[in-house]
Symmetry: C2
Subunit: 203 residues, 2 copies
DNA sequence: TGTATTCAATACAGAACTGTATCCTACTCC
DNA sequence: GGAGTAGGATACAGTTCTGTATTGAATACA
């Protein structure tokens, strides 16, 4: 029952992992199929035996990456919802722990966002994923706020959108100024302000 | 004293304008030198007579674009500082009016941000520009808050960073969901919340 | 053990892109 | 109006990339 040395799924996985690296470093358009194969330790023969084009790879990579992210989020949710701590802790926990390498994730997701802004199909896929992400986060927020008797001055969905906007905006600034701004510090400065603004004890 | 039909500066300008269009549509890496020349109505001969490479063009375009933006901001500042209205109005005014085509600007500036995340020279240039932009916005905020007797619970620089984060995060979400979210609506929903949170009357 | 099959490597053709060297044309200035 | 020059077009060589067709090796299976 040993996994064969040469299996379709294994090489697909290695190609996807290689693509993640290469795309982060050079962008979707800047990376050639051969770059990806080099990174994965294959030649183009392997690539075209597993994918029909770079575009298909990009889509597969997006699906694989976001599937994995959503899984991890689902796994974290119950833990975060029941842990002692504030809503802020839970949100930061989710945002921080679900993502491994912040820089790589930011590069890839920004790259895919740009791709989506120019490609309706990608836009649909991305919006779907983002809607699910918002739904998870909204669920977390609602559970914690109920447990800690908080209420919001705006709808939860809107609140979550604001949190995401701040998160992404802060991450972008942090990564651009590595020396000046320590990683995560902006986010840790901004989110409490936003939370204070929108929530208050309900009794 | 007629400007000659064929002048260095004019063709440079047309090439830069063409590059803006093409880069917005295909990205820096996805656009070929020939694409840019086609858009501008030249051949590659004109290009290489005016720029040494696409990279140099990207840098020139960035400089030209941001110079223009900062000029417009400086022109808007006195007007906005003295107009009747709230701090929110002034900030939104600056953010909205200084930028022409929101979508194009977002594409280009995101593209350049990605470029900067991979290229230290570009990062320096971008951070310099962003620092100047923050300085302008900070000046506006301080003038208006002084005039309207507001004080902030965080340093002005930090407040401006938060505003920018929200602005960019909201714009990204808006552009991704054109049907679902009307342009600017998220920003108009978020900024008042943030302003409320950080400022209060000082007497 | 021998055969069939699967999967990646290799070889190849064609397209796209870059950069340069040269040519041509329209102004400039005498 | 004729020589000189500036600026862009054209032609070309070299490189890189893509995609396919074929080959070769490893695995499964009988």
């Amino acid at each position: 029952m040993e996994p064969p040395k040469r299996s379709r799924t294994a090489t697909r996985a290695r190609l996807l992992a290689g693509a993640l690296e290469v795309f982060a470093e050079r962008g979707f358009a800047g990376a050639s199929v051969e770059d990806i194969c080099d990174q994965a330790g294959f030649t183009r023969g392997a690539f075209y035996s597993n994918f029909t084009s770079k575009d298909e790879l990009v889509l597969s990579l997006f699906q694989a990456t976001t599937d994995r992210l959503l899984e991890q989020i689902e796994a974290l949710l119950p833990e975060l919802a029941n842990q002692p701590g504030t809503l802020l802790d839970a949100i930061l926990g989710l945002l921080d722990e679900a993502i491994g390498d912040q820089r790589q994730w930011h590069l890839i997701s920004t790259e895919f966002t740009l791709h989506a802004l120019r490609n309706p199909d990608a836009a649909r896929a991305l919006n779907e994923q983002r809607a699910m992400f918002r739904a998870s986060l909204t669920r977390l927020v609602e559970e914690i706020s109920a447990a800690s008797h908080l209420q919001f001055s705006v709808p939860a969905e809107q609140f979550v959108r604001l949190v995401i906007a701040v998160h992404e905006g802060a991450r972008s600034q942090s990564l651009l100024e590595p020396g000046k701004v320590s990683p995560g510090s902006l986010e840790h400065a901004f989110l409490p302000i936003v939370l204070d603004a929108v929530s208050r004890p309900s009794h």
